[in-house]
């Protein structure tokens, strides 16, 4: 039932915040099953039930991990409904998560090779609450997987899974129209437009909130306080203000329309 090779690295990504016991309880459950598990916090500050924000974090973090790392994701507005819980392999990464679309961005970069529905309750806590499957199902399953449990034993193969309805940029001959998808801590605006959408064409200006911004290669190319557009470290078109907060200054947020003019 258990393989000889086991990877003890387990990361946690939740919307639980840091002021309650929820994350800590999950850590305890994992370590009670595998005291050698190595736990790593990715983020617990996802806004409550914000699956798109979770999807952005997984895209920006998971691909960098060593093969075999196991990532637990608990952003779970559907806890207590019939939504499935999944084990998924994306490239060489492994994830445990509710089937609610949080994989939508990551799977474009690391396609899902195998997905399994968590159904075998032998690997769960004995008394599964109706409100906290992170602690009672995902954490113990992670503990067992980190001991080498074969994923096939978790349940039946899942042939399909939920995807978020992501706003797709509209591509015209002279422009690409998209929107702001994420605002980071610095107030930088990450948009839905990626390098691939402007393939072969020259980046002109970016239009947002009635302003037209130049494209630069690095924050430092902008004057202090100047709003500029650039390609983010993940390949998204991004709006930033050097040593300032673009979201606050432009009055922009998730959903704000963005146009990239190309030539």
């Amino acid at each position: 039932m258990y393989q000889t090779m086991a990877d003890p690295l387990i990361t946690l990504t939740t919307d639980f915040g840091a002021a309650d016991a929820y994350v800590a309880a999950m850590k305890g459950v994992i370590l009670a099953i595998n005291p050698a598990a190595r736990l790593l916090d990715l983020s617990h500050e996802i806004p409550p039930q914000d699956t798109l924000h979770a999807a952005m974090i997984l895209l920006g973090a998971v691909p960098y991990f060593p093969p075999g790392a196991l990532h637990i994701v608990v952003v779970d507005p559907g806890v207590g409904t019939e939504r499935a819980l999944l084990y998924a392999e994306c490239g060489a990464q492994r994830l445990l998560l509710p089937d609610n679309g949080v994989l939508s961005l990551l799977e474009k970069k690391l396609p899902v090779g195998r997905a399994i529905q968590l159904q075998d309750s032998r690997f769960w806590r004995p008394d599964v609450s109706r409100t906290f499957h992170g602690r009672d199902i995902l954490a113990p399953v992670a503990g067992h997987l980190s001991l080498g449990l074969k994923p096939a034993l978790l349940g039946p193969v899942a042939s399909t899974w939920h995807r978020l309805t992501l706003p797709e940029p509209r591509i015209f001959h002279d422009r690409v129209e998209g929107e702001v998808m994420h605002v980071d801590r610095f107030g930088n605006l990450i948009t839905t437009i990626r390098a691939g959408h402007v393939h072969q064409r020259r980046l002109g200006e970016l239009e947002i909130c009635g302003q037209r911004l130049p494209f630069v290669e690095t924050y430092a190319a902008a004057g202090p306080g100047q709003a500029v557009a650039l390609l983010s470290s993940e390949g998204f078109v991004e709006v930033a203000i050097r040593q300032g907060n673009a979201a606050a200054r432009l009055g922009a947020g998730r959903g704000t329309a963005v146009t990239v003019h190309v030539a």
Copy 2:
């Protein structure tokens, strides 16, 4: 002086927040004594000096850990007074903490088997500050315990310790009256009323802020935006709004009166 079996797992729970050096200094002190210690953050976002909040986190997290785990708690409004510092064994869990009542909820679930006052300064930092016993006493003691130091060497047995004055629910033939004890990140209201308080009787409605709410089994049984009552994953009566914030919507917070009608 040191036992052969040592457990290197040490968790930290404080009200220090994440923006200062206080937690980091404690981690450094522990690792300087035992470089093999495995450190785990439970929470550092306890509101400043809020011992009840700390007690809730310990209750919700500590019981899930493997036997022998060592938990440092630094919520210490009395630092610099004559309040004692304690080593306590609760079930198979071990804790280091100021004697200010933060064990009050946990010890109802995991009774204290042994408590010891920290008095032997051989296991402290040489220069103990008057304002930071977490770094200068609790952290080094944790380091030594994780190396296998016998707890009996820390100081004399403590035969009694401080307890928080917790508001006890009042039980009537047709109702249980309690109050809100904790508000979590989602705005869920955890009350002082537990499943045991309504033993053998049927849950009717919950009354709070002039509203009467139905009991449901899971968040998902409520319509979006509907306020409901349910049993939390820890066995407390809880008020929640599906995909919403009950505290904000009801205008409730710690201390708000709650009545559970039973039949």
Copy 3:
């Protein structure tokens, strides 16, 4: 190229916050190079691009760590400019950081023994972005150092480095004039005045915001709600209110003038 002795302990200090993928990506990059690396969060809640705040955290945390620990610091307003990235040895501690002054306080306590500019791109990620050197340069270099890479291979020796212009207290025969340098989570005001500045003289009163406060030895010596001055656990003159928030109550913040009267 690699030494036989390697220390796998790596700490992270950034202004990235906890809600984005940036810290997580760095952790992944390190672990992909050295799966045995032991990662520890110091703080990710440094206000964006606040190098002085970062300098305070390093001073308050780094000296407590065991020899050989490696500390990555990413507070990097100059990313994309010609500012250098450095490897620095402070006492027995090792740091990786942008050359922007974040060492200014630490190096007064632990002088820099050796500093090296990171220039050899063999130890970087293949595609270095223009906006995220934490992930693309500092993290992989940390991974290699934790495997035992000899620091001399990272690049040329740096003979000088940037220092913050810190406001120096002015010392008079009857007083020391300084200012508030840092406000901690509790609202305690840490000033630029240190024990050494009042050497041999008796602490009288502290003047701030038109109030004169007595010096006490510990928070507990103050009445609840009373503003007092004391020496912080790091040796700085500090203003605190027992069980209260001095910054809010006095209306003080970084830069507020402070006078310590001495006799």
